[in-house]
Symmetry: C2
């Protein structure tokens, strides 16, 4: 095993590994601000959007291994300047917690270069989510930013995900030959599309250990299969919280050999835990409860009781 490759000392994956051990948490706090659901003390305030996002971030930071602002919520409001300010704030106030810009971009050539510039230069995100539908040359422009992460959609948490991702696909022999023998599933001839994406991400796209995958908590069997095919890749796992995925089942299916490996995302359940004066405290409480639930599920057979020593071992 090439430890230098799997535990680089800089970059998104290294930052995430440190954040797992320091926070002793695999909770990712999704920042999807919807002004119609803002707590009463913020209603009518001109700085409500920024105040809400930063209050939530500050309150939940002790329990978070990552922050994930969703760009659509800012774009629909014409509030890109607020998103820029939020990303700056997160980097300065919470420098140990990686930021993921959830944008699910997907395009090619010079257009993809512009999207990469948007995510990594304008918003200075540690990682960005991308769609794999346009293939290898749509992923490549993001990978030129060697210290950043690229998180490809694999098996998403929605029922419609199966429309494409669940279809059995036939992989041409020539494509298989590019993979190391160990990466070839026993049944070579056919596999679901999302498994093929997991293999592309874990091998073809992961030369510099920058890749991660989105796999929904709502499909634990698929999550386990992705973990098998991509043993070292971090998994961003939506679908717990408001979407109802079973935390314990997801953690058992998706953790890596060391008992880490996941960013379990919760957005609405944390953001809108209370609509009163206590909204930040309520968010912190739900974040803590969720992180505890994740830790209990992960800790059963692992070494999670000693986060600091784990931290030294993993990142040293």
């Amino acid at each position: 095993m090439d430890c230098d490759k799997l535990s680089p000392s800089t970059g998104f994956v290294a930052k995430l590994r440190k954040a797992w051990t320091i926070s002793d948490s695999m909770l990712c706090v999704g920042i999807d601000p919807d002004p119609s659901r803002f707590p009463s003390p913020l209603k009518g305030r001109s700085d409500a959007l920024f105040a809400f996002c930063t209050s939530i971030a500050d309150a939940t930071a002790p329990f978070a291994c990552a922050f994930k602002p969703q760009i659509a919520y800012f774009a629909s409001l014409g509030a890109e300047d607020c998103l820029e300010a939020l990303m700056d704030y997160l980097r300065q106030r919470h420098p140990g917690i990686p930021t993921i810009l959830d944008a699910k971009r997907g395009d090619i050539g010079s257009t993809a270069e512009h999207y990469a510039r948007e995510a990594f230069e304008r918003y200075k995100a540690d990682a960005v989510t991308v769609s794999p539908y346009m293939g290898t040359d749509s992923i490549a422009p993001y990978l030129t930013y060697k210290d950043r992460g690229v998180i490809a959609l694999c098996r998403t948490s929605n029922p419609g995900g199966a429309d494409l991702q669940g279809l059995e696909v036939q992989i041409p022999d020539a494509d298989w030959q590019a993979f190391p023998a160990g990466a070839q599933p026993a049944l070579r001839s056919q596999l679901p599309l999302y498994e093929w994406v997991a293999l592309l991400a874990a091998h073809r796209w992961n030369r510099d250990a920058q890749m991660a995958l989105v796999v929904g908590a709502t499909y634990p069997l698929e999550l386990a299969r992705v973990r098998e095919l991509a043993p070292d890749l971090p998994l961003l796992v939506p679908g717990i919280g408001a979407q109802g995925g079973d935390v314990a089942a997801a953690v058992r299916a998706g953790r890596d050999d060391l008992g880490w490996g996941m960013m379990l995302n919760s957005s609405r359940a944390i953001l809108y835990a209370s609509d009163g004066e206590d909204y930040a405290e309520a968010a912190a409480r739900v974040a803590k409860e969720t992180a505890d639930l994740i830790r209990q599920a992960a800790g059963g057979e692992t070494d999670h009781a000693h986060p600091i020593s784990r931290g030294r071992r993993d990142t040293g």
Copy 2:
């Protein structure tokens, strides 16, 4: 054939049909502004971005059936306000030419609703490009805007497109049964992923005739196959111009029964036709030449010589 459905009197597809016949053109002008390539008279001007885009639009409008601003070029510059102003300008100055926001968005539930709001309310686009990777419930939120178009990626113009889109997929019987018998290809058991996307778009997602598809000019055989599976859907066809796709082959493969049906996109070859004072005239000249080339290729066996009568017949 349900003519009301295929030729609705309002909405994106109706506006596009009118634009085809009034302009007698199937050229889509892609607006991908890159300041490093701006013509010398605009260098250093604070309004260069807006001036460039509007000059190109005004110069090429007589030869265009659609305008397609690519949002990444604005987002990487932090110039969403300029894109808003450009979309307003296009709607006011060129009301007959539909606008396509090229954003390739793909997400689910409330996030997709926010992306739809961004495209259709903030930018007021007539249509938006989307990725199909997340399936039916990722397309649905856009379709609630009944007068707007949704253009799904199908077979893209880049080589890496084949990594996923070209894979042979196995369609479960239950999924086939939802399609009309005529839509089922003779060889039911297996087909490339992009053909399945074409079938989903043409049937499951097209109840209100809002769908179109992105198919690259660089793969004319695939283009012909998509036209066969989706005989009535407009096709947005990148890959001519700077990407080198053969215009005549693409038009022969992708036109519909009436000799229309395509938006052949050219961006860089038009935008950067000259870097001198004459950049707008040069853009117009290349746009006219491209539209002429498309018309010649389309006109061989059709009725293109009488655009006005066609216009009345198609849209009345």
